[in-house]
Amino acid sequence: MFVVNYRKYFYALSIILVVASIVSVSVWGLKTGIDFKGGSIIEVEYIGVRPDQPTLSSALSPLGFDASVRATGDKGYIIRMKDINQEQKNTLTATLSTFGTSTEKRFDSVGPLLGTEALRKALVSIILVILAIVFFIAFAFRKVSHPISSWKYGVVAIVALVHDVIIPTGVFSVLGHYAGYEVDTLFVTALLVVLGFSVHDTIVVFDRVRENLGHAKANKPFSDIVGESISQTFTRSINTSMTTILALVVLYFVGGESTQHFSLALIIGIVAGTYSSVFLGSPLLVTIWKWQEKRNEAKRGRK
């Protein structure tokens, strides 16, 4: 019953984090990767000693590519710039090689057209996932209508889900501002997985509520049933998230650079998701139920 009784404190923590995330995104925004806004990125590694960053930056600035230089590893640089063509790339390579022999490890170039398309597809996927899940929950809980109707489970799941997506986005906005973390297609994929995971988690608790409602005594308050369901599924929620997070932490440290930001986004999202399914989603069912009760009482009072 602990969670249900102290739900206001748990709501407060969620609200603080969500508000902080929204503020961060609206103040600092998100740094979009080249796959969304178009542009080029090159990763080079110098065989010998690499030039220091200001030297390289100032050497590149006359080229007019809006290049931003970031060090990677011991000998490498990642350079981001606007979308450049083959000729411009040759100039770039020539400039880079004036500082010593270097090997090109990676070069990506995305035209603005493809970037807009990727962004649109990403947004549409997110909206589709959310819609599909509301319908699914409304369907899965169609037999549950008392004391609160099945679509309200769907709405609560969406609240939890939005919470779980906003928090990693906020964290990446902060990281983008201070450490240059970018939001790219892989980040959106991470958000979509968080969506799936969040619902997965929330459904397990709801499922228990559904089951307990089935054989509860008629006079047992709904808040007790929800509280019981939360404690019954508590260990499972924590342990499942634990194993998934263990896997992701390993991926973060061992999996190599290309999936590092991706696993970080997932870790944040899944922690938020576990929190929301235990401390936010199910208690919200109780809050909705209390509102209903109050309204009903008011109605009765008027009569």
Binding site: E43, K105, V110, R120, S125, T189, V199, T243, L246
Partner: protein, 458 residues
């Protein structure tokens, strides 16, 4: 009980055999079942190019034919480059695509890291050439004791250019032989070509004048007589499709659809190697860490979960080969994530089982109840994951996203299967029959000791 045991042993044997075959086919790629994992460009190194095809000048019924022709032309050029397993595919924007780039051409060149070279190779105009070969020389090669392919390769080397190229071809037309009804391809040269063609055919009566597109022979007719009117007919045992294709190739010496480069991506081989190594290490380590956690916390059932997780991993790796799934860094990440999620079904079942034990049920009964009750949660929660996976797969904007989604989707489905079959059967088999200190310890988990009711245990 005996039946369950037999099934359990059978499952283990099957899993072991599948695992061994998969391992063997990787370890011995040249054996009869040898088949290495397919690695994406980000792990193998290579170049990924996306072109926009400008179909605005084509009528709508021509579009798909022209795109097909474009694909064929580019594929031939790429093949001529000698790239191992290139991929050339046409992609339609669909409902979410932008109007400006509705038709795209995607070219993947594993192992090619020089974009400049790759781009120029694809962008070049194809070369249609007429080359001759001396009949005696080709006969000499044919007489050699070689396979047909080797002979062909040697003959191709002996061809000499005639100076006649596609530039001199006015038009190629599909015709039908009036007597036999066979399709033939007739060629019309312009005045320059006419003169040269007359000269070449005069000198080469009895020899072959081969027609080459991008260096590979598309037709090898034998000259019967001098041809003065600048018209030639390629006849032979053509099928109608082949004749049509040849006419198309000849007429569209240039690309049938103009293309424009939208995006390029190159990954150096060393970066790919390190990403692959990182992914594999992460996968192995994740399995070990999760395994330790499960055994410490859930003890005997935890051990069962580890066994079924091993079966899950084996099945997944086998499916990667059979489907086949092109593994990318994102795909490996999806696999590792799915390991975490695969455990979920087991945990749901164990927690449920523990509750039933607390209610005073015997071990065997608690296990059956645990499975039955956990099933609804497993079904509903995995369904939502499958929905997410499907949407990602079909609406994913890049190959990174679809690569992730495919592995994720397969992972969720396979993990559901292993949890409700393998985990269940093994657990039934190893369940302690008697209640004593040891069985209590084995079945308990975490910090709480689960008391097994004495009276109900059979």
């Amino acid at each position: 009980m005996l039946k369950t045991r037999i099934i359990a042993v059978f499952l283990l044997i099957i899993a072991f055999v599948i695992g061994f075959l998969t391992y063997y086919s990787s370890a011995r790629p040249d054996s009869s079942i040898g088949k290495p994992f397919k690695l994406g460009l980000d792990l193998n190194g290579g170049t990924h190019l996306v072109y926009k095809a400008d179909t605005s000048k084509l009528s709508s019924d021509e579009v798909s034919v022209s795109m097909q022709a474009l694909r064929d032309v580019i594929e031939r050029r790429v093949n001529a480059f000698g790239v191992g397993e290139p991929i050339v595919q046409v992609e339609q924007g669909g409902i979410l695509g932008s109007k400006e780039a509705q038709h795209k051409l995607i070219v993947e060149l594993p192992g090619v890291t020089d974009i400049e070279e790759a781009v120029s190779m694809i962008g070049q105009t194809p070369v249609l050439e007429f080359q001759t070969i001396d009949k005696k020389e080709s006969d000499a090669v044919s007489a050699k004791n070689l396979t047909d392919e080797e002979k062909q390769a040697e003959i191709n080397k002996l061809f000499k250019p005639t100076g006649i190229t596609g530039r001199m071809l006015q038009k190629a037309v599909l015709e039908f032989n009036p007597t036999t009804g066979e399709p033939t391809v007739s060629l019309n040269f312009n005045s320059e070509g006419k003169a040269l063609f007359a000269k070449v055919t005069k000198e080469n009566v009895g020899n072959i004048v081969g027609i080459f597109l991008d260096g590979s022979p598309i037709s090898l007719p034998t000259v019967r007589e001098e041809i003065k009117d600048g018209k030639a007919v390629i006849s032979g045992a053509f099928k109608l499709d082949e004749a049509k294709k040849l006419v198309r190739d000849l007429n569209y010496g240039a690309l049938p659809v103009p293309i424009e480069l939208l995006s390029t991506q190159t990954v150096g081989a060393s970066l790919g190697q390190s990403a692959l190594k990182g992914g594999i290490n992460a996968g192995i380590l994740a399995l070990i860490v999760i395994g330790i956690f499960l055994i410490i916390w859930y003890r005997l059932p935890g051990f069962i979960a580890v066994v079924s997780l091993a079966i899950y991993t084996t099945l997944m790796l086998t499916l990667f080969k059979l489907i086949p799934v092109t593994l990318t860094a994102a795909g490996i990440a999806a696999f590792i994530l799915s390991i975490g999620m695969a455990v979920d079904a087991n945990i749901l079942i164990f927690e449920r089982m523990k509750e039933e034990l607390r209610r005073g049920k015997g071990i065997s009964e608690a296990m059956h109840e645990g499975f039955a009750r956990a099933w609804l949660s497993i079904r509903d929660s995995n369904t939502s994951s499958i929905i997410t996976g499907l949407i990602l797969y079909f609406f994913g904007s890049t190959s990174v996203v679809t690569g992730f989604a495919l592995v994720f989707l397969v992972g969720v489905i396979v993990s559901m299967f292993t949890a409700i079959t393998a985990s269940r059967i093994f657990l039934y088999v190893v369940a302690p029959k008697t209640t004593n200190k040891l069985s209590t310890f084995l079945i308990s988990n975490g910090f709480t000791k689960t008391i097994i009711s004495q009276s109900l245990t059979k």
